[in-house]
Structures are given as structure tokens and as C-alpha cells.
């Protein structure tokens, strides 16, 4: 595998490093563990999260209380997050710029009220060990959610550990990751949102295809007819976009045959009463 493509410069949004970034950049070997999350700053657009006013929060809750994950009293919450970032590898190229990602995500999650733990340069086995330890943390009992962030090189099968090479299949699969945090292995997070963020390649393709632009006939052109001409213009398009797959059960689990009619009829009923497909999925 050639490694993450890395380009010199990109035009991107105006996120800026916080003073926390300065501290971390001065000691690259530090493995920071953020303590109690700092209070979010007042609403601003640079380097901070825009806050939700109490009135807005009440309005949303009033409108959708039965459809929202329960909110717990913040004063007693102990929400944890885990960031695993592989920057240096035995065989693969160094992921230059990864440090910026760590600082950005850690700052964001802290501002959202989470205690952040950062681990670096792990094998898949090490990642499994860290996840198992994370799943056993007692703080999850008094938390309402969790985030897990993985940043590394990647292949189609999963996230690369630091020893990955053509001869060493050091890979963590999403399936294994989810299994470690499911209701059986992490009961303290049962019924609570578990958000997994993965920054990694998922293959070597560019994700893009060239398509032909359609010709739009101008009303001012009298002749010849538009159908006689073909446009040579082409444009780029995302190779995969606008899909949704709604499966009848979670991975590895079966769907009872006698449930087929119920599920199928439910989808049919919802779509024929003018619901958008994504609303049907939620219902």
C-alpha cells in the first residue's frame, strides 16, 4: 500500500489552532489526557462551538422529546472519548499533519463536554486492548454518550495498525470495533449514542469519475435543432453518492422470516403516505 495521499496545500475552512495546540506542538511525545472539560466559550465562529441557548434547547426538546436521546444532568455527567491516532508506522509513510487532527478533535470534544484520552501509534492488537479497557470504564455508567475517533492509514478491510505491510496484516475492522462496544461487551453504554469517527483511506481509488455535461438548448438559437450537436464538455462527479441502504437487521444477526411481511408492509405504508425516505428510515 502506498499510504495516504498527502497534498501540499488545500483551500479549506478557517479553523485555527487553539492555545492548547501550542502546548502540544511543543512536546510531540506528550500523550495528553484532558481533565474536566472546560466550559465552552461564548458563541463565536473561530475555534469554538456555537452554543445552544436554553430557549432553543427547550424548544427542540418540546418539539421532539420522544424522539431525542435522553439528556442527563450535566453536573453529574462523566462522558469519555477516546482518540487513537497513528502517525508513524514501521513500513508505511508518516502521516504528516496528523498532529493537527489530534489537537482539533480533542479541542472540539472537550468543548462539547467530553473528557478526552489520546493514544498514538498502536498496532491493531493494541487498539483492541485500549478499546476493551475503554469499554470497562465505570464512568460510562454516568455518561450519556461517547465518541471514538480513529485516524490512520487504511485499506478496504479496515484501519491499519502501525506494523501494517503487505506481509503483516495489522488491521482493525469496524465490525470488531462495534462488537467491543455493543450491549454485551459494554453494558454501561447500552441505549446511549456511540459515535465512531474514522479518518482513513478505504482503498486506492480516487473516488471520482468523469461524466459528460448535458447540453441545454438555448431558446435564442433558431436552427439547427439541439439534437444534432453533442457537447464535448465533461465534468467530475463523485463516483458514489446519494445512496441509502436500509437493512433488515444488524450485521451478523438474522431476520426472522415471519417478520418479513411486517417490515415490508411498514415500508410500503410509510412511503405511500408521502413520507420522505429518510423519515421512513427513522421510523
Amino acid at each position: 500500500m502506498k499510504g495516504d495521499p498527502c497534498i501540499a496545500h488545500l483551500e479549506i475552512s478557517d479553523w485555527k489552532c487553539t492555545p492548547l495546540a501550542v502546548k502540544l506542538l511543543s512536546d510531540p511525545q506528550a500523550v495528553p489526557v484532558w481533565g474536566n472539560p472546560a466550559m465552552p466559550t461564548s458563541s463565536g465562529s473561530e475555534g469554538s462551538v456555537k452554543l445552544c441557548s436554553l430557549d432553543e434547547a427547550k424548544r427542540i426538546w418540546k418539539e421532539k422529546s420522544t424522539e431525542i436521546y435522553p439528556i442527563m444532568d450535566k453536573s453529574s455527567l462523566t462522558c469519555l472519548t477516546l482518540i487513537i491516532c497513528n502517525e508513524e508506522f514501521d513500513s508505511l509513510s508518516k502521516r504528516v499533519g496528523a498532529e493537527v487532527d489530534i489537537i482539533g478533535m480533542a479541542t472540539l470534544l472537550q468543548n462539547l463536554g467530553y473528557k478526552v484520552d489520546v493514544k498514538r501509534n498502536l498496532t491493531a492488537s493494541d487498539m483492541t486492548t485500549e478499546l476493551e479497557a475503554f469499554s470497562r470504564r465505570q464512568e460510562h455508567k454516568t455518561s450519556d454518550s461517547t465518541f471514538l475517533v480513529f485516524m490512520s492509514h487504511g485499506i478496504r478491510e479496515g484501519i491499519c495498525g502501525k506494523k501494517y505491510s503487505g506481509q503483516v496484516p495489522d488491521v482493525l475492522q469496524l465490525n470488531e470495533l462495534v462488537k467491543m462496544l455493543n450491549s454485551k461487551n459494554c453494558p454501561n453504554l447500552k441505549d446511549k449514542p456511540k459515535v465512531i469517527i474514522i479518518q482513513a483511506c478505504r482503498g486506492e481509488n480516487c473516488g471520482m469519475v468523469l461524466v459528460k455535461d448535458s447540453v441545454r438548448a438555448s431558446k435564442n438559437i433558431s436552427s439547427p435543432t439541439p439534437g444534432d450537436f453533442e457537447d464535448d464538455a465533461i465534468k467530475k462527479a463523485q463516483i458514489e453518492k446519494d445512496f441509502i441502504a436500509f437493512c433488515s437487521s444488524t450485521s451478523d444477526n438474522r431476520f426472522l422470516l415471519d417478520m418479513i411481511s411486517w417490515w415490508g408492509l411498514s415500508i410500503q405504508k410509510l412511503t405511500t403516505t408521502h413520507y420522505r425516505l429518510d423519515s421512513c428510515v427513522k421510523r
Partner: protein, 121 residues
């Protein structure tokens, strides 16, 4: 729509209910026989930086493009949008392919409710 029964797990787990019993007996000696079923996998969402088979891009000085957009969208929209809406904002920011294209993808979604972060509350 094609549905098949596959050989596999039943998708549920049986958990033991803990119960505090007020009695003359020591609570440690009593065991609860009630059990209940729960989904083995629920309330997950995975957000990947690109579609399967395709690359994700990273800037050497500003960090990964996906992470940068994710942070920006959380900062801008988490006050009024639930998590899946924030993720959709991220996807929309990648909708028109640039010189280097990628399309962040939501996977393994089993969240049954809206997840509002309510920052500041």
C-alpha cells in the same frame, strides 16, 4: 427487495436485572431471576472519511480534509442540528468534487433517536 434468513446470532442479549431487596436477608445472598432481552447492537453511528474503495485526503499543514470539515460543521451547526444533520452538512461540503475528491460516508447506523449535543447546556 430481497430478504433472506441467514444463519447467525439472534441479535439480542439476555441481561440480568439487578434488584435491591429490603428484607432481613443480606442482599448479597439474594439473586434476581428476572431477565430481559435487549438488542446486542444499537445506538451506533460510524462516520468514515470516504466511500469504500476510495482514498481520503490530508493536508500536510492543516490536517485531514474530512476532520477539518467535521470540526467546522460541529462548531457551526451542533447548536441547532442533531448529529446526523451535522454529518449531512459535512457530506454536502464535499458534494462538488474538487481536484481531490472524497465523499464521507455514514456506516453501521443503528441510532433510533436524534442525538442533539445541546452545547452549553
Amino acid at each position: 427487495m430481497s430478504l433472506q434468513q441467514t444463519v447467525g446470532n439472534c441479535g439480542s442479549e439476555t441481561l440480568q436485572h439487578s434488584l435491591e431487596v429490603a428484607s432481613s436477608q443480606s442482599p448479597e445472598n439474594l439473586e434476581e431471576d428476572a431477565v430481559y432481552k435487549t438488542h446486542v447492537e444499537k445506538d451506533f453511528i460510524a462516520f468514515c472519511s470516504s466511500t469504500p474503495h476510495n482514498v481520503s485526503w490530508r493536508d500536510s499543514t492543516m490536517g485531514s480534509v474530512f476532520i477539518t470539515q467535521l470540526i467546522t460543521c460541529f462548531q457551526k451547526y451542533s447548536w441547532c442540528c442533531h448529529l446526523e444533520e451535522v454529518f449531512r452538512k459535512v457530506q454536502q461540503s464535499f458534494e462538488t468534487p474538487r481536484a481531490k475528491a472524497q465523499m464521507p460516508t455514514i456506516e453501521r447506523l443503528s441510532m433510533t433517536r436524534y442525538f442533539y449535543l445541546f452545547p452549553g447546556n
